[in-house]
């Protein structure tokens, strides 16, 4: 059947796409193993739909399609949880980066203010001397 060919090709493509490295190496191997199992089970149940129903009956679920739905709900919750955790991590990194920028800018401003204060001090000292000379000359 055409639908079986399309689905099998789709599953294999998604499997390859998700097996590309992205992020931590430690999780990558686990994810690849999981993807391989997922691809195998998906292809099996596309080619032999009755196998899925047989397995569903074995663990007390009425139809194979129901079992798929339950698995999908679980997978979605796992996705939400991992995405939330990743989001927290990314936000923390942004915070650290933004703080570094803010503090670096503040340090630069402080350094500039110190230089200006220093220059003002030395020009004050320079101003004082001619003034003293002038007074002497007037005498």
């Amino acid at each position: 059947m055409w639908i079986q060919i399309l689905l099998v090709v789709g599953v294999i493509l998604i499997g390859f796409f998700l097996a590309r490295p992205a992020g931590g190496d430690s999780h990558l191997a686990l994810r690849r193993l999981f993807m391989a199992a997922f691809v195998a089970v998906a292809i099996l149940s596309i080619l032999f739909p009755q196998w899925l129903s047989w397995f569903a009956n074995l663990i007390g679920v009425g139809r194979g399609a129901d079992l798929m739905l339950y698995a999908l709900i679980l997978a979605f919750l796992v996705f939400v949880a991992t995405t939330y955790r990743r989001n927290v991590q990314v936000n923390h990194r942004i915070t650290l980066l933004a703080r570094e920028i803010a503090l670096a800018r503040a340090d630069a401003e402080d350094a500039r203010a110190a230089i200006i204060a220093h220059e003002a001090e030395s020009s004050d000292a320079a101003d004082e001397r001619p003034a003293a000379d002038r007074i002497e000359r007037e005498d």
């Binding site: 923390h92 942004i94 915070t95 933004a98 703080r99 503040a106």
Partner: protein, 233 residues
Amino acid sequence: MDSHAQVDPRRHSGDTWIVIPLYNEGSVIARVVAELREHFEHIVCVDDGSTDGSADAAEAAGARLIRHPVNLGQGAALQTGFDYVVKQPGARYLVTFDADGQHRIEDAMLMLDLAKHDDVAIVFGSRFLDDRTNPGVLKKIVLQTAVWVTNKTTGLHLTDAHNGLRVIRTDAAAQIHLEQDRMAHASEIVMKLGRTKLPWREFPVEVLYTDYSKAKGQSLLNSVNILVDLLVR
């Protein structure tokens, strides 16, 4: 303490830095900074990406302004302020102060007196130690929830967890690394200050609930956020 009216109003100016997390408080921040300037030399405003000109108003009023390039949250702004102040030569104490003018400067002065007199590292302001402050029923529920969670998770026994007025000695501040960017940082500060094992006190303060601060105060729903932020990491 009765004779504090005659005491030098700038007695803490030399070694104390004020840290104000600032986010869109354009209508009040200038007045808050100007009043603080009468007592303190060093006022650090950490602008958390305000979009209403708060930052310029604070700087014009005489605060040392540090700008976050993007909005990160009040906890992140406090931590940035801590990081800045602990590097400043001569800084011995820092005072966290809310930008909306709900704290009394006299309370901050008395808390600094207490910190120096009793040589404690941390003084927490508490609005529930006396009956000057009347937050209203809903707000009281929120705040008491926060106190309960904080005491459960920190092991300290405070009467008020989410009070923005705190005196922290710089050696204590240097040990704090806040990771909760949003409101749960108030409990996180208590927890991490508690872990330093440094001596602490609570001090009765009055929180001025102006119409303005009421309008943008913590909502009841926010206590749910505080709980979840603390329990789910």
